[in-house]
Symmetry: C2
Subunit: 252 residues, 2 copies
């Protein structure tokens, strides 16, 4: 694997996310999937089912990052306009892909109405993304992957995205859990260690619950040895600041 | 309430969302909260803890929509840079807000270290957003509300945002559940009804589970009478297309 940074963006398309009707889980699934492949998810956007918004977001994000993954809007109904928008963003036409037509003809015994044919449309120059779950495939055009919005189908399609990515060095993460101390006392030792390791990212993620409070301190970086060596350094700095209830969690 | 459209955007700030470490739930909570107040959530973005990215997103989104709500990055640690970025976006300085200093002095009996003082910083011209849960308040500057990232705290702060919003006509939503029919047969009647009601938004949200499959058809609009009248129209169109297993769900 190359050591350079490979970046990606996610574009979530759908009124149902913005209206609050649906809790998105695709962003988190894609983020975890990309992390395993050493690809940095650098930005995500959520837009509604509006052509101008989708086209503008696709063109901005595909130009700025190595990859763009979109979810949603590829079904057969009139509000599913992602294929149209991606084709427009690339300045190409849509055509009915013969493999999808053949797949759907086999599945529905020839009952291919206009709505179903919508799902066979792929931009010129695009290739198919396998759908191992249900329904027609997604597609790839250039550095853009167009996946379904239904989470179980999206995750199935994602398995066909990974092998196509130029992957970077995987980011290693180690988490130190602090119980019973607030960020107010954690901040100074954490910052001191962060400043000593400018190539690592050190973050603090506080939690509060009926059982108590504390924070998860996460050390991230591409150099596994440096990440591992920084862990005892952070522990020592915290203990010196009086923060003693520490638990090393499994690597994230 | 006025009948015009009031729009908002959400900016989620935090490496932990993009790394996949944390599943965001704030977007959905804010979307539902805004919907009740008749404010359209038009766009959402997720950016990492990078100053230039946050400043650019804040300036773009506050200029484009009536309101911007940010979540995350207002704690005491070095990676909490939201206040700095929002101040920079507005071209103003940060100052230690005397009310927050007083609150924190009372809470920590005078132990105000540098990290805690970070949380007292508010941009010049900003006002405080009450935090009924734990820790220091958020703030408002212009049309931007800066809230915590921890969900329970974010939701508490949100209660002080609603009363400050110019609210639009509330969007009414009615959901018709279809069991045992796919979108391939639903699409044509749905589109016909959608075309007859250009002021309404009709969407189809398919589901698949071990128990079966189908789709939730959602009719949304600001004219409650038109939404209600469209429901039997959609039912009739579906039945005419052979889609008969229909259940009216509670209003969303």
């Amino acid at each position: 694997m190359s050591q350079d940074r490979v970046t990606a963006a996610v574009l979530i398309i759908g009124d149902e996310i913005l209206s609050g009707r649906t809790q998105d889980t695709n962003l988190n699934a894609i983020a975890r999937y990309l992390a395993v492949h050493g690809v940095d998810l650098a930005e995500a956007r959520v837009v509604g089912d509006i052509e101008a918004e989708i086209v503008a977001a696709v063109n901005h994000l595909r130009g700025r990052y190595d990859y763009l993954i979109t979810t949603g809007g590829i079904g057969p109904t009139h509000d599913d306009i992602t294929a149209d928008c991606v084709a427009k963003a690339f300045g190409v036409a849509l055509y009915e892909h013969p493999e999808i037509i053949a797949m759907m003809t086999a599945r529905w015994s020839g009952e291919l109405n206009a709505a179903r044919r919508r799902m066979a449309r792929v931009p010129e120059g695009g290739s198919l993304v396998n759908n191992p779950v249900q329904g027609p495939p997604g597609f790839q055009i250039g550095n853009v992957f167009v996946l379904a919005g239904v989470p179980v189908i999206m995750r199935g399609m994602l398995e066909d995205v990974g092998p196509r990515l130029r992957t970077g060095a995987v980011v290693i993460a180690r988490t130190l859990r602090v119980d019973g101390s607030g960020e107010g006392v954690i901040a100074a030792p954490l910052e001191a260690v962060a400043k000593a390791h400018p190539d690592l990212s050190l973050g603090s993620y506080p939690f509060f619950s009926a059982e108590g409070y504390g924070s998860n301190l996460v050390i991230r970086g591409r150099d596994a040895a440096e990440v591992e060596a920084t862990l005892p350094e952070l522990e020592a700095a915290l203990r010196a600041a009086g923060v003693t209830n520490l638990t090393l969690l499994d690597a994230a």
